[in-house]
């Protein structure tokens, strides 16, 4: 396999971390909730999955069961975090930014403490091979595309289908655009908001497990998870709130992100160590540019949901 393809596939595999995070956040934001707790949720998704693998990773269960239980634990612990956020912002109508930031503080702190207790052999080294399913025998970067990579592609397609082709999706978008109107039309606003934020959080959380166990093979991996959570939020804007675009966006982010490590391989570009931080800025600068361009163009379909960040109180007029 040529080098460039290797690099591309590696970037795609890396980008899948963001795909999980931003698909979850898109679903959340469609209900009108800006969840800045995604970094904390992804951390806890990773921690929940790893703790489960820590329990069962060395047992003699069939591999597929271990993977499945890991994924379920990861989803559940992230959804639980999402539930805290939902309760505070939907039922208690707290400020979404503040609640989200607190969730991030809490989630990263809890993950650091929990992961310090887990044994790397149990949660990472042994169960890792079960995640490698279709291309387990390959030695090149293709083997990095494991079960969870195909899972996220399936989730994204499902999310696209539900949001754009079903009544449920239409209702959810109505809730995010104008909850009062949706309420008047007989849509159960509270239920939609709860479901969207909780399921969205669960999906985001899987990204944590994917990054720690599937993509990265290092016991230190969890320490950089928070930064990728923030990047996932950025990717939502980059994708203009459309699930399918997150695939393209994630790959681009993945390439931009790993560009700094691969650029030395390109013979005709002279680079020094100094340029690495400048290259690492690229994904963020790209996001800023997209943000500016979409606000200047001011197209209706490229805007965030209108009620994003505002809590809904039925008795208000």
């Amino acid at each position: 396999m040529p080098d460039w393809l290797n690099i591309l596939i590696d970037s795609i595999a890396f980008g899948a971390t963001f795909m999980f995070g931003s698909t979850g956040e898109i679903i959340t934001e469609k209900s009108g909730h800006l969840n800045l707790g995604i970094p904390g949720i992804m951390c806890m998704g990773g921690a929940g999955g790893c703790l489960m693998l820590n329990l069962i990773g060395t047992s003699n269960m069939p591999g597929i069961l271990i993977v499945l239980l890991g994924i379920i634990a990861s989803f559940a612990s992230a959804a639980l975090m999402g539930l805290i956020y939902s309760f505070l912002t939907i039922t208690l109508r707290c400020n979404q930014n503040v609640t989200g930031l607190t969730l991030t503080t809490f989630g990263t702190g809890l993950m650091m403490t929990l992961m310090a207790k887990a044994s790397q052999t149990k949660y990472l080294n042994i169960p890792k091979k079960y995640f490698r399913f279709p291309f387990a025998d390959r030695t090149d970067s293709l083997q990095k595309l494991g079960i969870m990579f195909f899972l996220v592609i399936a989730i994204i397609i499902l999310a696209w289908f539900i949001l754009n082709k079903t009544k449920m999706g239409l209702n959810l978008k109505a809730v995010g655009e104008n909850p009062a109107t949706a309420d008047a039309a007989g849509i159960n606003v509270i239920r939609y908001k709860y479901l969207a934020t909780t399921i969205g959080a669960g999906i985001s959380g899987l990204g944590g497990l994917y990054y720690i166990v599937d993509y990265s093979a290092s016991g230190e991996a969890y320490k950089s998870l928070e930064a990728y959570g923030w990047l996932s939020i950025a990717l939502v804007i980059f994708a203009l709130w459309r699930p399918l675009r997150t695939i393209a966006g994630s790959i681009l982010f993945g390439v931009l992100f790993s560009f700094s490590s691969y650029v030395t391989l390109i013979p005709f570009i002279e680079t020094t160590l100094k340029t690495k931080p400048i290259l690492q800025m690229l994904p963020y600068i790209a996001t800023i540019i997209i943000l500016i361009v979409s606000s200047i163009k001011n197209k209706k379909e490229n805007q965030p949901p209108s009620s994003l960040g505002l809590s809904y109180f039925r008795e208000d007029r």
Binding site: T113, I278, Y284, S295, D316, R317
Partner: protein, 423 residues
Amino acid sequence: MKVNNEKHNEPLIHLTRRAYMSPWKALGIRGIAIVASLIVSGIVAFILIEKLSANPERIFDFYKCFIDGSFSSEGMAWKFFKNVAILLCIALALTPAFRMRFWNIGAEGQVLMGMLGAIAVAKAGASLPNWLVLILMFLAAVLFGIVWAGIPALFKAFFNTNETLFTLMMNYVATYFVSYMLLVWVPSGNAMGIVNQDTHIGWLPTVIHNYFLIIMAVLILTGILFVYLNYTKHGYEISVVGESNNTARYIGINVKKVILRTMILSGALCGVAGFLMASGLDHSITSTSVNGQGFTAIMVSWLANFNPLIMIATSGLIVFLDMGGSKISEVFDVRGAMPNIIIGIILFFIIGCEFFIRYKINFRKKETVATNSNPEPVPVPVTDNQEANTEESNDEDEMPEIESSDEETNEETDEETNKKEDN
């Protein structure tokens, strides 16, 4: 009373906004929330910390750690006040923007850029007199902070670009920019040493204590900002723009100008925080020098309802919890980030209890009207006026301070009226 006769038409609970709550009662609710959160964090710690679940009697040590963390010695107390001052300074910087509903979450980057500016001047000006270097450092820090806050403000003012995400991204650009500058200064990639360690050029002079000048500077700043926000025309304009852009435009406020001016102030104050950290504390810089305080400051400002004076208390609370959490990690030998967990839990409760301050929970009235044992006619005030009053106050997002209509008595009299009619 029609509604009550048709069963289950009225939901079990319904919520109304409180028009007013006495500050003491509000403080009481917050106090209850803090006590509850301390109990919950005790339970969580009990589960997480092995040394605690093995010896449950050490739970008192756990709570004692909070006090020991900040006030076990004089040095610790100074450190506590220094941490409060720095966090408060960043929170002060954010407050004008927040009052304008400009969600600047980029303090992390703005402070870091301020530090970078100050350090760059301190490195370059090693041969100049100290007072001159300090002034130049201050100016550079303020300038860098202004640039970093001004860019998102410019786009917000002219294109209404989402500032929350823009400022968030600017944090990362700042982090990598600092990494780049560090590689320029120290090409080996090693950490940057203390700047001017021998000459102390560009170091704040020591008065009474190393931290004394910083603490005093921030206290004075708090007072100035309080007056600026509450008693000047600028402060008033900020509040109006925050309430409604259209109202502001209607009464002749130049909204773009106010956004830019306020964000320049916000960035400049972040620069001041960066200057204090660079010249008074670190004398050096890394890409993580600000260490998440830019985010914590958002909570400090919000918890204080954007009031600079109350922010002294809220930043004190958060630093207290943070240092207590570190002490707990030390005493119970916990790896990981115990302070974050405790701060998280306590903030959840404090954020959550705002609900009970802002809203009143009304349960469905009992349907046993016949049990009304108080047939005495109650003087019924003219409720029309009062209702109109509360309706107006409903439009406001934050706690409106309208004292004229006490909703509680209003509701009660309504109920009495209904009962009387039924009889």
